[in-house]
Structures are given as structure tokens and as C-alpha cells.
Symmetry: C2
DNA sequence: CGGCGAGGGTGACATGTGTCATGGGCCGCC
DNA sequence: GGCGGCCCATGACACATGTCACCCTCGCCG
């Protein structure tokens, strides 16, 4: 019997997903969490408990959650010998890369067929890996972020419509420097302006 | 027995939701659809069929779907005597207003408890209505969009980072006019710049 | 040591944007 | 018929942004 933790901040979805998985004969949902923090707490308790109900095999984590997000949770869980599967609505190449770097064993968009999730859980529980083929292709095609860390910082701060002054203040930089970084990011991404650049970077999962 | 149609373009979520609802004794999921168009097709077939399996009582629709979206589908279904419930990840006041105007009978975010969905379905099947209280309060507090139709158009075109020239070309307007509309929208929304204005308008569900 | 590259900065210049005043045309309503 | 609101446009001005050239300071490495 494979013991599963399901984490998603959308109660409706989490409950439905848990229900779906519990219906499989060889799967059992032993914990649910509505936030990354709750997921970690639950996992720690389960792993500490060596009794009949203790232990945890696989975590199914939504990527978009209040801090910490699914990838951060997966990185922590890797230390507890729990294999993680990330499920997400938005398939960004960058997210996939970060997830794999964090030791995630499975990554699939919410558009995948329901039956596949169970298959992937079984495979991951047995030590396998699974990445949605389409996403994998995108990630390979997209390549790595061409942005330097500072450029990415500035772009991230610019993403919510802040003005140069705001960004400079929040990044502890001179306004001119911010403009240079932004300009460089814009040309690197082939964008028309900073907001276009933000859109591209977000789509790629680079910020 | 209440007959239900579930529509959501995320296969995983739709299957899980259908499973969850089917587990209730008095509910049965008679159709699933991965797009608005498919939902309408299914509903028409079911309503035309007056046999033992025919008929449809309630549609549970995701708001975000490839055209037509949940609200548009609900408006069509109202003509078939099918009551609709909208489920959404993002609770925007404007969406709620549009939904109610389209004759939707239930509106709830995906963060609601799983048990509540079944309750709402029963209530709606019996002719009742249900709107998430928090969303309702927001919608009342937010009021109507202060934007004129053209202002909203320009703002919508500006949302993806287009430059004034682009917007003017796409809207068949003079660049100066676009700037006036944008400026007016910015002041009306109390925003710092056009992108801030876009963010506000999107958050309110006005574009 | 000299050279190099990345981080951080300045100043100048051309464009793009936000704001304002102003005007005309077209409704709908008192 | 006048008034007011929306639509469309123009021109002018201030400020924000994007681009470029150039500078300084560290480390690092040959």
C-alpha cells in the first residue's frame, strides 16, 4: 500500500484529488494539507511516527501555494526520504527545471488524464521518475535563463508595475543601474519594453 | 437523483471533482466536458433525449475555459432549463456580477470546503441560489466598473504590454486618443501608471 | 604585474507616457 | 432647444523610460 500526502490550498481540489486517489486499491491518502507549511508539519509527524500508521511514501504537491511553494516543500521532503510529485495549472519550463533541481520525482500539469496520476505515483513510489513529455520538450527548447541574477531581480520587482524609483529603492540600487539592468534584460529577451520582458520571463518561469 | 454535468479543461481536476460528486448518494455525474463548447454539445444531447438517461439538472462549470468560458456556457444553459454553478480559482468581484447577470445560480471559489459544493448543488437543483459570502461582500464593496467601454477596451489591449502605437492600430484609434483613454482610466482607478491600472482592473474582474 | 570581466554607477539623448486644455460630432434627456 | 456625457482628435509640456558611452572598483587568473 502506497501512503500519500496531498497538499493544495484549494480545498475543493485537494479533497477531490484525495478522493480520487483513495479509490485506487493500492493507494491510500494518509494526510492532507492546505499550505506548504502544513504539508511539512504533517510529513514530519508521519515520518517520526514509526507505529502502524507512520511513514509516508509519496507527496502530491500543488506548485502554487502560499509560502513555501510546492518546490520548496519538495526540497525539504527529499531530506525525509519522501518522493514528491508536483502538479500545476501553468506549465512553465523554468518551473520544471527548478523542480528537478530540487529533487522532484514527478511533474505534471493538471490537464493530464486522471489515470496517469495514479500511474505516476506508483512509478515514483518504486523509485522511478516521470515528467510530462510536452513540458519536457518545452523546457529543453527554451534553454536556460539568459539573465544575470541582478537582471532577474530587477525584472521581478518591475513585474508588478513598479516605477524605476520604486525598484531602485527596494533593490538598494541607483536608479540608473536599475535602468541599465532592465535595458539589458529587455534586449536579451528580445522584448519591446520592460513589461513585455516581464511577460516573457514569467512565461518561461525565469522569475 | 440529481443529474450533473461537470466542465473543466483541467482533466485531472474535472475527473477528481466528478468522482467526488458521484460518491454522494443523491448525485450522479451524467456528463463531463473539457471545454465550453463540449459542455454545450453534451447538454444539448442530454436535454434532447427524453429517454431514461436523458435530462440534466445542474451544470458545474469552471470559469476559466477556452472559449466559450463558464459564464457564456451558463447563459446558454439557462435557455435549456439547466441551472449552473460556477467554480473558479480567482474570485473577482466583476466575474461574480457577470455571472449573476448571465443567470448563474451558484458561484464559489475552489478554496471552499468540499462538502459545501454538494450542498450548493442540492440547493440549486431545488431552485435555490448560493454565492460565496466573502465574494459577495467584495462585489458589493467594489461597486461597478467606472470605466467607459472604450477605456476598458484600451486597458485590455494595454494589459499584455503593448505600446501606445500597437493599441492605437489594433483599436483603430489615433495614438493621442488612446493616451487620453488610458490616462482617464488611470485616474479613475487611482493607479500610478497604465500597468498598475491593468492590475487593478484585472483584480476587480473589469476587463 | 597586467588584463579581464562582472557588479555598480553617472550623464546625455531620443522616445514613450501621463497630463491638461481644447475642440468638434453625436446622442439622449430634461 | 440647451445641457451633459461619451467618443474622437490635436497639440503642448513634464516626466519616465530605453539606449548608449564611459567610468570606477573588485576579484580572478594568466
Amino acid at each position: 500500500m502506497i501512503r500519500i500526502l496531498v497538499a493544495d490550498d484549494e480545498n475543493l481540489i485537494r479533497a477531490a484529488l484525495a478522493q480520487l486517489l483513495d479509490l485506487e486499491d493500492d493507494l491510500t491518502v494518509v494526510a492532507q494539507a492546505a499550505s506548504g507549511r502544513a504539508a511539512l508539519d504533517q510529513a514530519r509527524v508521519l515520518c517520526a511516527d514509526r507505529g502502524p500508521d507512520g511513514g509516508l511514501d509519496v507527496a502530491v504537491l500543488d506548485l502554487q501555494m502560499p509560502e513555501p511553494d510546492g518546490i520548496a516543500v519538495a526540497a525539504e521532503l527529499a531530506g525525509l526520504d519522501v518522493h514528491s510529485i508536483i502538479v500545476t495549472s501553468h506549465g512553465r519550463p523554468g518551473h520544471l527545471k527548478r523542480a528537478l533541481a530540487a529533487g522532484v520525482r514527478g511533474f505534471l500539469p493538471k490537464t493530464t488524464e486522471a489515470a496517469r496520476l495514479a500511474e505516476v505515483i506508483r512509478s515514483v513510489a518504486g523509485g522511478g521518475r516521470y515528467v510530462d513529455p510536452e513540458l519536457a520538450a518545452e523546457a529543453i527548447g527554451a534553454g536556460d535563463s539568459p539573465l544575470t541574477p541582478r537582471e532577474a531581480d530587477c525584472l521581478e520587482l518591475a513585474a508588478d508595475g513598479a516605477t524605476i524609483e520604486d525598484i531602485a529603492a527596494r533593490a538598494h540600487l541607483s536608479p540608473g543601474t536599475v535602468r541599465n539592468y532592465l535595458s539589458s534584460a529587455i534586449t536579451k529577451l528580445g522584448a519591446a519594453n520592460r513589461h513585455d520582458a516581464c511577460a516573457i520571463a514569467v512565461r518561461m518561469g525565469w522569475i
